[in-house]
Amino acid sequence: MTIYLDYAATTPIRDEVLDCYVHYLKELGNPSSVHSSGQGVRRALEEARETLANVVGCNRAEVIYTSGGTESNNMAIKGLYWQRNAEDSNRKIIISAGTEHHAVLDPIEWLVKHDHAQVLWLPMDKNGLLDLDFLANLLAEKHSEVALISLMLANNETGVITDITRVTALAKEFDIPVHSDAVAAFGHIPLSFKDSGLTALSISAHKIGGPIGVGALIFSRASKLESLIHGGGQERGLRSGTMNAPGAKAFAHAATMANKELAAESVRLAELRDELIEGVLNAFDCASLTGPRSNRLPNNAHFTFEGCSGDSLLFLLDQAGISVSTGSACQAGVNGPSHVLLAMGRSESEANACLRMTLGNQSTSADVAALLKALPQAVSAARKAG
């Protein structure tokens, strides 16, 4: 029996969500077709849009379905850059942070390489907390050249939460759009798009008990975006392609459930997480928690184990039937040093010594106990392996 402590990578699909998904997979019709079959599926798609909008706290027209978080991030960053740059060619600066997911970093770097964008990375402390005073000064000085700001709601590796309302308050003064990658945060902390002051927000279904391959970009109806994908003009003309009604339905279902459980679940998971953190810190002198104790996602515990390589620990725990992560894995499955820890000013050896445990709706105290039982042997072997 595998003990799964990697909810930040993906989550088990909920039974109710699976039933709903399968039900709509069987339904015939292209949501753009005019006939009754099409209209039936369209109705499901729009019901889901309304449900998602209610959960996220936005207008239903602001929900743009995508294939997931990566597409949403690309759409927001490239689309906003192109739009803002076309309106005023002085706007070349993208403000972001080195701790972002590659689905944010790489689109930005692509724009730098191919489209004359300039990027300014915000400084942060060793806990990954951004220096927002620096951002305030930066905006005061350079606001006319800023195309957009992209900062994640919570970090996918360390769980550290960004004070996004302060960011949007600073940006509002200069009408600068702010995008936030909320893939890691969505479903774990309360969220209202309307109150956030954000222009764009990326979310994904499979991180909250929904299927892989479905996501959304929540995009303010007051703002404009250049499209990335061209074709039949679906989704406000911003995302062409036949809409995935079963996926949308399943996503909305999963979001509703996560939202309903959020208040109780975030307390339960935070307690479980603290149990895990206490257990690890008490057992190992070589372990230190990454990021602050509070101001982190309730389901995230991230450590560095001095003298251990993260991939040795991962290997040994996997042998013991426990699934954890060292951070985000690249395509080849190589866990190099974490770019997140490096961006936080940590050394390469610290960035190689990471272990991330993330909890979810099926996690129990027994899972944490099993981890704490398996860790001593793993840590001692990993230290030997160097």
Partner: protein
């Protein structure tokens, strides 16, 4: 036993892993990531560390039904193999990076990590055999598939390393047999081309690759008497015995082709001359190791055979360790041996020892000034 199958993504290591499973061992596949910036796709027969290779290895592990992991050795590989390769060329020598990789990565860093993480042994797809003598000492022998024999590049292994190494392909008759077996097992790498070139030089052009890293300073190409025959774009790219790429324009007086006899990085000169001047009668190296059990009287010359490149011939010689230096006296001269190359010593099919060649002695007295030795 708990066995780590090192899987490159090629057909040999895939079949090796499958055979270990058949033999009843608990096998886990591990692919070594040797570059932080791997190429996406293979280009022809070059390299073995692209993402496509890693995917091939993973797919093979899935088909065989074993777990699979990628371990990152890129930093160690860079320091121990790539930087060493560059430094050797920089000092005018011709290194063998595959041997360095076996010596320092596969059967050192990887093996140490494997043992620490609870494995008993590692298996690879090398064509070589490990046998046991009457006293239980382990011996490394040539593969039955002589055309593919890789005992040369494993010559750096010690008794301790042999103890934890398994080469399941050593007794196979040929590569064709392995490919047929892979096809039978449903492994899609069955027809994947062999890799020949140096894995970290993706374009396959060593000279260009070195020039990018070492810079290139123009210098003179001279004959054995010191007469200037032409110019070169950087001495580092030349290796003893090389014939192509000299671009001397006019032929030698005797009309015979000219070869690189030596590279002097201090004066930035490349010395060329006729093939006859490449003949050497003695090789010696300070850095040597015994593969398996050492000789009891290494200071006594014994009859051996020596091989100086991966797919070279083995030639009769006498070998002894004299004042800390492994000295190899060749019965017949051999041609084009460069300092930095490895001489592997055989007793019949058994690998006895190896040394990195530091100096050579010319077989032609008149040409003594043309010795390839670099002081």
């Amino acid at each position: 036993m708990k066995v780590l199958a090192a899987m490159s993504g090629g057909v040999d290591s895939a079949v090796a892993a499958a055979r270990m499973v058949d033999a009843g061992h608990e096998v886990i596949g591990v692919h070594l990531a040797l570059s932080r910036m791997p190429g996406t796709l293979r280009t022809g027969s070059r390299g073995c560390c692209t993402i496509e290779d890693s995917m091939d290895a993973q797919r093979a592990a899935n088909v065989i039904g074993i777990k699979y992991y990628v371990w990152d050795f890129s930093e160690r590989f860079k320091i121990d193999v790539v930087d060493d390769f560059i430094a050797e060329y920089e000092s005018g020598r011709t290194p063998n990076p595959c041997m360095r990789c076996n010596e320092r990565i596969k059967f050192a860093a990887l093996l140490e990590k494997a043992l620490a993480l609870g494995f008993d042994a590692i298996c690879t797809g090398h064509y070589a055999s490990i046998l046991q003598d009457a006293e239980g000492n382990l011996e490394l022998h040539r593969s039955n598939a002589l055309a593919k024999d890789q005992s040369y590049v494993l010559g750096v292994l010690t008794q301790e390393q042999l103890k934890h190494a398994i080469f399941p392909l050593g007794h196979s008759a040929s590569k064709d047999e392995i490919r047929a077996e892979a096809a039978r097992r449903g492994l899609s790498v069955a027809q994947k081309p062999d890799s020949y070139d140096i894995c970290f030089i993706p374009e396959g052009d060593t000279q260009d690759w070195l020039a990018e890293r070492l810079g290139s300073t123009k210098g003179e190409i001279v004959d054995m008497q010191g007469n200037v025959l032409g110019q070169h774009q950087g001495a580092h790219g030349f290796t003893v015995g090389q014939r192509k790429g000299l671009n001397l324009g006019k032929p030698a007086v005797d009309g015979k082709p000219r070869y690189v006899l030596g590279v002097d990085v201090k004066t930035n000169k490349v010395v060329v001359g006729p093939a006859a001047a490449l003949a050497v009668k003695e090789l010696a190296g300070n850095k040597y190791s015994w593969c398996g059990k050492a000789l009891s009287n290494p200071d006594q010359f014994i009859e051996v055979e020596v091989q100086v490149r991966a797919h070279g011939e083995q030639v009769p010689a006498q070998m002894a360790v004299i004042s800390g230096e492994m000295v190899i006296k060749l019965q017949e001269p051999i041609f084009g041996v460069a300092p930095g190359q490895t001489a592997v010593i055989y007793l019949g099919t058994r690998v006895l020892a190896q040394t990195t060649i530091d100096r050579t002695v010319s077989a032609v007295d008149d040409f003594s000034t043309a010795s390839a030795s670099i002081s």
